[in-house]
Subunit: 338 residues, 2 copies
Amino acid sequence: MNIAVDAMGGDKAPRATVEGAILAYREYGIPTILVGNERLIQEELTRHYIKDDKLQIHHATQVAGMAESPTDILRKKKDASICVALELIKKGEAQAVVSAGSSGATLAGAIFILGKLKNVDRPALAGVFPTLKGPTVMIDVGANVHCKSLHLVQFGIMASIFAENILGIKNPRVGLLNIGEEDSKGNRIVREAYETLRKSNLNFVGNVEGREIFTGNLDVVVCDGFVGNICLKLSEGLAEATGIMLKNEIKKNLLAKFGYFLARNAFYNFRKRVDYSEYGGVPLLGINGIVIICHGISTPKAIKNAIRVAKGLVEKKVNEHLLIRLKEFSESKNYNSK
Amino acid sequence: MNIAVDAMGGDKAPRATVEGAILAYREYGIPTILVGNERLIQEELTRHYIKDDKLQIHHATQVAGMAESPTDILRKKKDASICVALELIKKGEAQAVVSAGSSGATLAGAIFILGKLKNVDRPALAGVFPTLKGPTVMIDVGANVHCKSLHLVQFGIMASIFAENILGIKNPRVGLLNIGEEDSKGNRIVREAYETLRKSNLNFVGNVEGREIFTGNLDVVVCDGFVGNICLKLSEGLAEATGIMLKNEIKKNLLAKFGYFLARNAFYNFRKRVDYSEYGGVPLLGINGIVIICHGISTPKAIKNAIRVAKGLVEKKVNEHLLIRLKEFSESKNYNSK
């Protein structure tokens, strides 16, 4: 197995990406192909005194800019590290790609270069949220602004398979994000998706409200990419703001500072539990290949964890399961193309 | 001035609602009319040894059930406490209504009994979020599942006036909630709203992402009621889950428990800062009268604060400002009815 890492993608690339690959190799023994400017990547490897044929370099002359349009990148920068990395899957030289670069370019590149899995209308991003009980998957967290009800149902199927195989959740409980629990709530698309999900063979628990996400009482939350992306970023922002507000209050008072010092392990464990980088990145499900999209500000730890998740998706043959279950769905009476 | 309180609305009514009204009178001297079952309300007042003509009772024989359809309530339960309370505004006996009952019934009743302000197409709920710097208003947090771009622009105008007059923010910075900052992001409705907001005389700062809400770098966040309601409930759920997770970590360890004990004041101040009940309720803007919708689980403190906000909206003549600014907008070149 080989995971291709877009070494040039991300705000701190290639430093954070190369270090992430080194960590993934040291901790989990995962071999990677570092795609990008050979000299810069070699410099990073040398900085870590690493010379190992399990960390290969694959040279790419160009870099996809964060501000560039994805279609421009695909048309005019065929040698951008993300494009070259995706081509490695196509050629069979790698099984997965991890990128912290422009998510628009990775998304477009994945669809254009690798193509969609059969019976998938829209690939979607599956974000993992920490909750009171365990991780919950929200799908879609940003790949599709507009969704038909059919897409939402396919998202539910894809995320269920992900939760089963990667998070080890048996018979995942699937909820449809809505503004009330009654089946009459929401817009037409959500109401149609409710009906199809209800008749599907998923473990569908019905509509769920925003406050349910963090209880851990469900495993998959389905929504369109506009709502999901806003939820993901709002959660990150709120978690960050909460930490800062609490810190500011503690700083105001010497006794509180001492108290914080005594309780610091509890805070450390708490932060580890809500730390998004523990999950590493967001898999793009429904692509003919494994693609993980990471935050632009990814730390080496986040890259390492994304590589670990990529390995899991390859080893558990998640795409083969997706193909089977989506074929079943497309042939079911329940399927309609609305 | 008189504020009508729907004494029978909410999970803990009439206990929490009557106690909230007593607190509002004791702390701020605000007179209220408690609308609902006279005997039950009187029992609560007697429990608090209160007999004061500034806390009147207005009898209503019926109660709007949480599970009943709003239209059924309006048609068949004309003597429900929420309907009677709204009628008090219409008759000029009260200037505002505070209710923690069925929000659907309050919303429908407000539009049906009091009507919309001139030049308002859709009344909207303005939720106040605590942030790193100060409160931020999100509009709409649940009144309208479907919105045209015109509605979003009107929301921005209404929330700006609310932020100016009630939160004391000069020239509020208005952002449009979206999945990226570029003006090409989002769906057609959001892109159209972006253009109109850009040309308006609001202090429009452009598209904002979910993570910006809690930085305190903007004062008003505009979105449709589907997205806004999910954001509001997600934030409440996440804040609650964060508190529980942190508490669980602290409980695991004796030293951490002692540390927490020393830092308890900081935690108390922090909780006060992020406590939604500090803002009391959500004003329904665009109605021919002042209406505040409270959480079903509202505590007496939340009801008290909602009554205080209602008084502010009456005293600052917010609806008069709304009428002027919305008339200006409807006559501007920038207006289009899409």
